[in-house]
């Protein structure tokens, strides 16, 4: 190769590439759709708080865990809203964002221009995945923070009795709520990887979104069937509601760790599948 071909002004030195991640996040959060999804999630704690406020007398028996505590201590709004959001609403919004990662770019025609910018295919997947993870954080913390806010507005706020029977002060309770949000974010990381993989299979984003949401629903349904108990520990959704340990005193980290290992497994497997598929794919859209 001649030295002449290298002496171009453009191909001098490459930067680390954090700017592309920044640009990815700014595109994600400049979309009206992203804000609509977060607004829908924010509506859950608002509805719960308002419903409890308007209902007369403490609710009995049925309803999500901790619902009966809300009227005594507003901090529980965040926890109840998170529990309500986990089975469907969170996977739905995360499915939309994760399923859109690659297929969305393909459908707008921007995928080929990103690849020619150039962005190496592995790097594109990594940045897209990181964007979806940031959305998960935004989603869980939207539910948590709006819940806390609504609770503080409509109900008394005070020290919380943990599941171990001890009492923790308000600051410590807020830390626990943040821990729950982080736990739920962690729970969704595997689903993000599934969505990323689905997104490499098609140029139709809605298809990838639906497939991702269906994956989470199927996983939860299988998790309810005692006949398939042997498979339960491997399910994406196995630890989704297992954050009770974070509400003990002191915090028990076992389920957090087990969940992390499981989600990491999903990330590795579906990340590899996504890369395997995308790195050799003909971009014809």
């Amino acid at each position: 190769m001649s030295s002449k071909t290298l002496s171009s002004s453009t191909a001098s030195r490459k930067s680390v590439g954090w700017r592309f991640l920044g640009s990815e996040l700014s595109v994600l959060f400049r979309r009206r759709r992203t804000w609509a999804l977060l607004a829908a999630l924010a509506a859950i704690p608002v509805l719960i708080a308002v419903a409890v406020k308007l209902s007369s007398g403490p609710p009995r028996g049925r309803g999500p865990a901790f619902l009966d505590q809300v009227s005594q201590n507003g901090l529980f709004v965040a926890v109840v809203a998170t529990i309500v959001a986990i089975p469907l609403f969170l996977p739905l919004t995360v499915g939309v964002v994760a399923g859109d990662t690659v297929a969305g770019e393909a459908s707008t025609g921007t995928l080929r221009y990103l690849l020619m910018s150039p962005v190496a295919r592995g790097r594109l997947l990594a940045v897209k995945y990181a964007g979806a993870v940031v959305f998960c954080l935004a989603a869980t913390f939207t539910v948590g923070s709006v819940g806390t806010l609504m609770g503080a507005l409509l109900f008394p706020v005070g020290p919380v009795t943990t599941l171990s029977g001890t009492t923790i002060d308000v600051t410590e309770s807020l830390v626990r709520i943040a821990l729950v949000c982080l736990y739920v974010t962690l729970s969704l990381l595997g689903l993000c990887a599934v969505g990323l993989f689905m997104s490499t299979l098609t140029d139709v984003p809605v298809g990838a979104m639906a497939a991702t949401v269906v994956a989470s629903v199927v996983s939860q349904v299988v998790g309810q069937l005692p006949q398939l108990e042997w498979i339960h520990p491997w399910l994406l959704t196995h630890y989704w509601l297992g954050f009770a340990d974070l509400l003990r005193d002191p915090v028990v980290w076992d389920s957090f760790a087990a969940n992390a290992v499981l989600q990491a497994g999903y990330i590795v497997v579906f990340g590899a599948l996504a890369y395997g598929r995308f790195s050799t794919k003909d971009v014809l859209a």
């Binding site: 001649s2 191909a11 707008t108 080929r112 150039p118 050799t280 003909d282 014809l284």
Partner: protein
């Protein structure tokens, strides 16, 4: 490698199968450095597919591809920063402005300086006449405005090669003329321009070289003069005396065909017979009593060559 330094694009035996069908059958492209290379072919002949392979968007089924002297796809990440491209129409986020879209694509390029980003984006927008609409959401752009933005993206930084797939698609006459000027100024900057098109006049006006693709095979390639020379020259007679002219032309060894008509006269065209000079034809016609109102010998246009090479039929060849 001999000659590789002079070739910006070089493919050998490039073959591509798509959906169980052969779309490209062993293409040998040779695009010289500094040329404006017209890549011609009817709809569905494989122009865009070839471009996708050159830019690493799709893989070749077999064959060898070199761009800017480097092997593709192996050296793709080193080559692409030096290549600007518009492929199969522009692709942008409709909810972002023209400027924001270009900033995004520029941010993805790790080889350019972020400090000059804003300025380079503005310059590129200005070059395609979009400065006024730069702040508008792309979703509200017209077809031609999107096309211009797509061209601007190819111009974000200095490139050694610019690939434009149907650049004048959807452009108004001013836009089309601007593209011609743009291509010329790019050549002056030392950029090689590879333009795919089925608009022959356009290619004739701006290109120094061309290749013709037909149903996935390269049927002609070379400088524009070489290609024109390949087409046979035709003579054209304007006369009221149709039968006598036919007789004379047949005697001289050529077959007259499509007769046009102008008021009071016929227009007769025929391939120029070998070894017969134009002045001799005129002399023979006059001696035979033909009233010659007009006579000319025309080099075949690129269009005639194109039709001769790719067929008359309107149907897309599969």
């Amino acid at each position: 490698m001999s000659g590789a330094a002079d070739l910006v694009i070089e493919t050998t035996g490039l073959t591509k199968r798509l959906g169980g069908r052969s779309v490209l059958n062993g293409i040998d492209l040779a695009v010289p450095r500094g040329s404006v290379f017209g890549f011609l072919g009817p709809n569905g002949s494989g122009k865009t597919t070839t471009i996708r392979i050159l830019l690493g968007l799709a893989s070749a089924t077999s064959g060898d591809v070199r761009v800017l002297g480097e092997s593709i796809p192996r050296a793709l990440q080193q080559v692409l920063p030096r290549v600007g491209a518009l492929v199969e129409g522009p692709g942008f986020y409709p909810f972002l402005s023209g400027t924001a879209n270009l900033l995004r694509l520029d941010a993805a390029d790790r080889y350019v300086s972020p400090s000059t980003r804003r300025q380079r984006v503005d310059t590129a927008l200005e070059r395609v006449g979009l400065s006024q609409a730069a702040g508008k959401k792309v979703g509200r752009y017209s077809l031609g405005m999107k096309q211009r933005l797509g061209i601007a993206n190819a111009l974000l930084t200095h490139r050694d090669l610019i690939v434009l797939d149907e650049p004048t698609n959807g452009l108004d006459p001013q836009g089309t003329r601007e593209v011609r000027h743009l291509v010329r100024s790019l050549t002056e900057e030392g950029t090689t321009v590879f333009v795919s098109s089925h608009l022959l006049t356009e290619v004739e006006q701006i290109c120094s070289h061309a290749a013709v693709l037909s149903a996935g095979s390269l049927v002609a390639q070379g400088s524009l003069e070489e290609l024109r020379r390949a087409g046979e020259p035709r003579l054209r007679v304007v006369t009221p005396d149709l039968p006598q002219t036919h007789t004379v032309l047949r005697r001289l060894g050529t077959t007259p065909d499509d007769d046009g008509a102008s008021p009071g006269a016929h227009i007769i065209t025929a391939p120029l017979p070998d070894g017969v000079t134009p002045d001799r034809i005129v002399r023979e016609l006059v001696e035979a009593g033909v009233r010659v109102n007009g006579f000319s010998v025309d080099q075949a246009g690129l269009e005639d060559l194109f039709v001769a090479l790719t067929g008359e039929g309107f149907d897309v060849v599969q």
